[in-house]
């Protein structure tokens, strides 16, 4: 069954990119124009009826997003990872929400985090980021630290607030001074003892 399926995928979709990752997990890479066709074939002919997840990976160096669709057979024993690349600058792809009801929320999640336009999904409104106008946060170019420094202010704290860096420096200096003073006192005491002994010996 699997051999036939792989053969059909290879011949129909002109790809050698079919991989057996585990005995229950397969992966295939396909051009995004033919993604629908492949998913339909797997669903109708090989029982991959359930869409489990859609994931996205940002390959910023290569200029694309890797979208992976996880399809599971009706008996849930096999999963097929179908991966397709889309241009990350003008990220768009057709939506699956009219075929798989659960795709609507999965695409909405990815739309918010990566800014991908899933064409045909009627519910791409904001999910957890309220009034977000910046770069979608899971894109690699979004720098969390820079965002925090530019957009958020640190609370000043209480009036008697102490800068921990300055305070720890002061405490370190104090400790060092105490240590040196103790050392000097010890040396002085030792010198005193030597002097006393010399006097005692009558030198």
């Amino acid at each position: 069954m699997e051999t036939m399926m792989f053969k059909q995928i290879k011949s129909h979709f002109a790809t050698d990119d079919v991989e057996v990752k585990r005995n229950d997990l397969y992966k295939v890479g396909v051009r995004h124009e033919r993604l629908f066709e492949l998913i339909h074939m797997l669903r109708d002919e090989y029982d991959y009826k359930t869409l489990n997840a859609i994931t996205c990976t940002d390959w910023i160096e290569e200029g694309h997003f890797a979208l992976t669709y996880m399809l599971t057979t009706e008996d849930r024993k096999h999963t097929f990872m179908i991966q397709t690349m889309i241009n990350r600058e003008d990220a768009h792809i057709k939506s699956f929400s009219h075929e798989f009801k659960q795709a609507e929320i999965m695409e909405r999640d990815l739309h918010e985090m990566y800014g991908i336009d899933f064409q045909g999904n009627k519910n791409l409104k904001e999910l957890s980021l309220e009034n977000w106008v910046h770069t979608p946060p899971l894109r690699r170019e979004f720098d969390t630290l820079e965002f925090v420094n530019n957009n958020l202010t640190f609370r000043e704290g209480r009036d008697d607030n102490i800068d921990t860096k300055v305070e720890s420096k002061r405490l370190r200096a104090l400790k060092k001074a105490e240590k040196e003073a103790a050392k000097k006192a010890k040396e002085a005491a030792a010198a005193e003892t030597v002097k006393d002994e010399e006097v005692k010996d009558g030198k």
């Binding site: 990752k21 585990r22 229950d24 997990l25 992966k27 009826k49 359930t50 869409l51 489990n52 997840a53 994931t55 996205c56 990976t57 940002d58 890797a66 992976t68 996880m70 009706e74 008996d75 849930r76 024993k77 999963t79 990872m81 798989f100 009801k101 659960q102 609507e104 929320i105 999965m106 999640d109 985090m113 999910l127 957890s128 980021l129 309220e130 946060p137 899971l138 690699r140 979004f142 969390t144």
Partner: protein, 367 residues
């Protein structure tokens, strides 16, 4: 009649909500016309944080993805890293992992029992269930040093071996639990007030459940024997005997019965684990964590959590950092696709009841 529509928010400040989320309800009288789920109250950006950390630094985050049940996250993370890095875990470590996962499942089901009973006002059940869950947390504390976030199922094995006499203490607890669960049957599962509230409420059809990618008790409550431990066995589940409990009604009560039977199965699995626990090392030799690199490859791993299939997608890029880790828990689809559908036509007083039966955990939506 004018103004017959009322819109109210159920949550996030509501005892009947399963965490930090809310459902906007459009009502006519007490009947729900439309339900809209809202999240965004606790997004912590974990998936982003993980991309900027080394593998082992990222490990400390994953258990926090789901609060009531952190261990499936640790197991998924460890299994994904091991698969990408080509590591093999020792048999003893695998058995210990199964033990931790099953104890965690039992603890999560007690927590569910507290929530489900609380949603219809049976507060005594909730108090008892939380107290009994604490006995499991005591064992976790002894084994891992922590009650909730264990950070124990580490890539390469488990963080430390079992303390002396630990398996005997697990056996003692299991004997207690077996007796104790009969009490819960009397005061909760067979309780007439629970039955009258739960039977025929929140019914899901089998076809819809399969097509829409629902998991866990939602599928099993419709009569489908879905369980990752049987369908695609991981760790040593293929060496252990257990059944997958199912019901056919597809309602809140069917899901409760499935959960109750699963508690028996967890105890049965734990008894076998205690009897079969092999000797040996619990951790393989791992590279220094700063030099630990994942190859440019990706994988999809899944475990059966107390609420259903819990999966991770993980991609490496040849560096010390994980390129991408995406969490696929049961909650995203259950809280939006399923809950928004299921609440239409339901009564306002049943919202908490239905929501609890679906196993929705908002921290896992906003990871």
């Amino acid at each position: 009649m004018e103004n017959k529509h009322i819109t109210i928010f159920h949550g996030p400040q509501h005892p009947g909500i399963t965490g930090n989320m809310s459902v906007e309800l459009d009502l006519i009288g007490e009947t729900i016309q439309k339900a809209t789920t809202h999240v965004g109250y606790l997004h912590r950006g974990f998936e982003k944080l993980i991309e900027r950390r080394t593998v082992i630094q990222a490990f400390t985050i994953v258990c926090r993805i789901c609060v009531p049940e952190p261990d499936p996250n640790e197991a998924n993370f460890a299994m994904a890293v091991e698969e990408l890095a080509g590591l093999e875990v020792t048999p003893r470590a695998q058995y210990i992992r199964v033990m931790v996962l099953e104890l965690s499942r039992l603890a999560a089901q007690f927590l569910w029992m507290a929530g489900q009973s609380g949603s219809i006002g049976l507060y005594a059940v909730g108090q008892w269930a939380i107290a009994d869950r604490d006995l499991i947390l005591d064992l976790f504390e002894e084994l891992t040093g922590a009650r909730v976030y264990h950070m124990y199922i580490y890539p390469g094995g488990v963080r430390r071996d079992l303390p002396e006499g630990f398996l005997e203490r697990v056996s003692t607890l299991l004997t207690y639990m077996k007796k104790r669960l009969k009490v819960y049957d009397d005061i909760f599962i067979n309780n007439a007030s629970f039955k009258s509230r739960a039977i025929g409420v929140g019914v899901i059809s089998k076809e819809e459940a399969v097509a829409n990618g629902y998991v866990g008790q939602v599928l099993r409550g419709c009569g489908i024997e879905a369980d990752v431990r049987k369908d695609a066995p991981y760790l040593v589940y293929n060496e252990l005997e257990f059944e997958v409990p199912t019901q056919t009604a597809g309602d809140v009560y069917a899901r409760a019965l499935v959960r109750r039977d699963e508690m028996d199965q967890s105890i049965h699995i734990l008894e076998q684990v205690v009897a079969k626990m092999p000797e040996g090392e619990v951790m393989i030799k791992m590279p220094t964590h700063r030099k630990f690199k994942l190859p440019k490859d990706d994988t999809w791993v899944k475990v059966e959590s107390a609420r259903g299939e819990f999966a991770y997608y993980m991609a490496g890029d040849g560096s010390e950092k994980i390129r991408r880790m995406q969490v696929r828990g049961p909650s995203l689809v259950h809280a939006f696709t399923l809950l928004e559908d299921l609440l239409v036509g339901a009564e306002l007083s049943d919202v908490a009841l239905i929501m609890n039966s679906l196993g929705i955990c908002p921290p896992e939506i906003e990871r």
